[in-house]
């Protein structure tokens, strides 16, 4: 992945790919590739959810770019028809500003990047660029990239909620598997917002819960996350608690229960009468997820990553994420932060906010005053 640096005034940095400089800029966004005045994003299939998130990302980016910059989102999946793709673009164009909408384009290729289908009005040379970008994105996924700034933020929040006190920067780096510039950039952002204390021994600590950054982190996390969603065509699916109860027999993998069922372990007062779905978390290398166990939870379910109301959602987390799983009575549960991500994904904002406030209250009650 390469990096585009956007200045607040909308002009671009001359060092477009300078990772270090990105730490100094507030509006940092990633795209998969660039070509001339084109920004390129590669979405993976089979559904359109990944593409929807990337189109949004591109629309936000274009708003900060000169007017000659255009954006192309390619879905690397033969399963999506050209018609469906165009419908998606049409819908997207209807909800964003017209001057941005017309600079946003879609394309399709097969998984290997070949057989690129472009809108006829676009430069044919883009085909080759797309092919290379798809391959590059696939390679990047295979390499299992290290932690991101989102992971740094999540780690700090977890540490704060657990009242762990100051943490050495090198320990953050080690824990999230991120490079030094990535960690530095994340910390710098928080410092600028005035929520981070930097101590003289190269350790840092949140001053309090970063309420302003929290919703942005949630949004970015849910957009970046791959979630396998399952629907039940016959309305005979087992309930979330029943499926969760079968988990230990269904797989030997470390699969953690998240969402409402998981949140109830951490916050029994959660104000939800019945869980609308089961959320699970697996820690996996990108593209190597083993979801065979889903059949043992309920063989009738069908995967549809674009589903609005799935009965099961499996969140794919980076490899080391299972360190955050909590074992209770022989079952793994996702930690509170992860459960809240799932609650927000289900749009259960109010219960999620109540849970968050409860966690903050608990932390503040137990915390020693920060010097």
């Amino acid at each position: 992945m390469s990096l585009t640096i956007h200045r607040p005034d909308g002009s671009k940095s001359s060092k477009r790919q300078s990772t270090y400089q990105s730490a100094l800029k507030p509006n940092v966004r990633w795209v998969d590739s660039h070509w001339g005045t084109w920004l390129l994003e590669i979405a993976s299939g089979p559904g359109l959810r990944d593409m929807q998130g990337k189109l949004m990302n591109l629309a936000v980016l274009l708003d900060h770019e000169p007017r000659d910059v255009q954006a192309l989102c390619t879905i690397a999946s033969e399963k999506v028809t050209q018609e469906r793709l165009q419908n998606e673009l049409t819908q997207m164009r209807q909800v964003i500003r017209p001057d941005l909408a017309m600079r946003l384009h879609v394309a399709r290729s097969d998984k290997s990047g070949e057989n690129v289908l472009l809108e006829p009005s676009l430069p044919a040379a883009l085909k080759e660029v797309v092919t290379k970008a798809v391959r590059k994105a696939a390679n990047a996924r295979r390499r299992s990239p290290g932690g991101t700034q989102l992971d740094v933020f999540a780690y700090l929040i977890r540490s704060w909620l657990a009242d762990k006190g100051p943490i050495l920067v090198k320990d953050i780096q080690k824990a999230v598997g991120a490079s030094h510039p990535t960690v530095a950039a994340g910390l710098e952002q928080l410092k600028k917002q005035g929520v981070l204390n930097r101590l003289s021994d190269r350790s840092v600590e949140l001053k309090g819960f970063p309420r302003d950054e929290w919703p942005r982190w949630l949004l970015a996390t849910s957009q970046a996350r791959k979630i396998a969603r399952y629907v039940d065509p016959s309305r005979h699916a087992r309930g979330p608690h029943e499926m969760a109860a079968r988990l230990s027999k269904a797989t030997k993998q470390n699969v953690a229960i998240s969402g409402v069922v998981g949140a109830l372990q951490h916050f029994p007062d959660l104000d939800i009468t019945s869980a609308p779905r089961l959320d699970l978390c697996i820690s996996t290398e990108p593209g190597r997820e083993d979801l065979a166990f889903v059949r043992k939870l309920d063989a009738g379910l069908v995967r549809d990553d674009d589903a609005s109301y799935p009965v099961l959602a499996v969140h794919m987390l980076p490899l080391r994420s299972d360190k955050q799983f909590v074992e209770i009575d022989g079952r793994f549960f996702a930690d509170p932060l992860e459960c809240m991500v799932a609650l927000y994904d289900m749009k259960l904002y109010e219960p999620a906010n109540e849970m968050l406030e409860d966690l903050i209250r608990r932390q503040e009650k137990s915390a020693k005053p920060v010097g």
Partner: protein, 306 residues
Amino acid sequence: MPRPDNNELTPAQVMEQVARAIPEACRSNVIIIGSLAAGYHFFGNDQSKAIRTKDVDAMFSPHAMATGAAREVTETLLAADWTVRREGEFGEPGDANTPDDLLPLVRLKPPHQAQWFLELMSAPGADSDGELIKKLDRVETQAGHFALCSFGFLGLAEHVPLTTEWGVRYARPEMMALANLLHHPTIGTAIISGGFFGPTPVKRANKDLGRVLALAYLSLEQDRDAMEKWSEAWRDALTTRYPQRAADLMARIGLGLLDLMGSRDDFNEAVRTCSLGLLRSMDIGPDALEATARRLLAEAIEPLTQ
């Protein structure tokens, strides 16, 4: 979605009519099987779920008493103004000179109504090991000679049948499903011509395996873990009824269903028979029945093959 006609009878009403018509002494020898048994089990007296029961299949059990009980029932019903249902070249009762395979089955119509008729069958003998062949037993009545037929796997309907308040019993849905699955290890070419399922002929295997899916669907409506319970019940039935062949039979339970799932045309035909039959009052499409088939395979069938 077809809705039941106002003048259609509920399964419980038909069951009561059948039971009351059968001499009390014979009722405990009768096990109702097929669509009436399934309809009664799942819908009972629900007026919105009336089913088109055309043939009411009554199996006499045990086999040793089947012909005697069938004779008594036939004579009692004919004396009560029931009539022999005549269809094509079959129907006229035979005599001592009529070969067994040319005798008509016992099909009797109740007086003053034409919605359904009663067909008598026999449980297979104790020597039956589940062979697919049809066996015929002669029933000699004052009205003439008839044949009582039995099929190998029909014996599974005798396994722990359920009771009605009128004394006759009926087969468990899971046992009827098992018999159908074993009866069709492949999608055979035998067809049912026209009539109940419309003018187009329907493959018998598609109709019978479609019935399995409908039974599974309705069972899952009542209990999300029903397929696992079916698996346990099937293991018990097969090891009890066919102790020597149980392992072989378990290994092939799912073959026909896999064939059905592998053929879009056959599967759609099976779905069509369901929507004209047991699932008539419900709007159930292929996607839902595919999900049912996957649950059936994963939770009822696969545990028996491992």
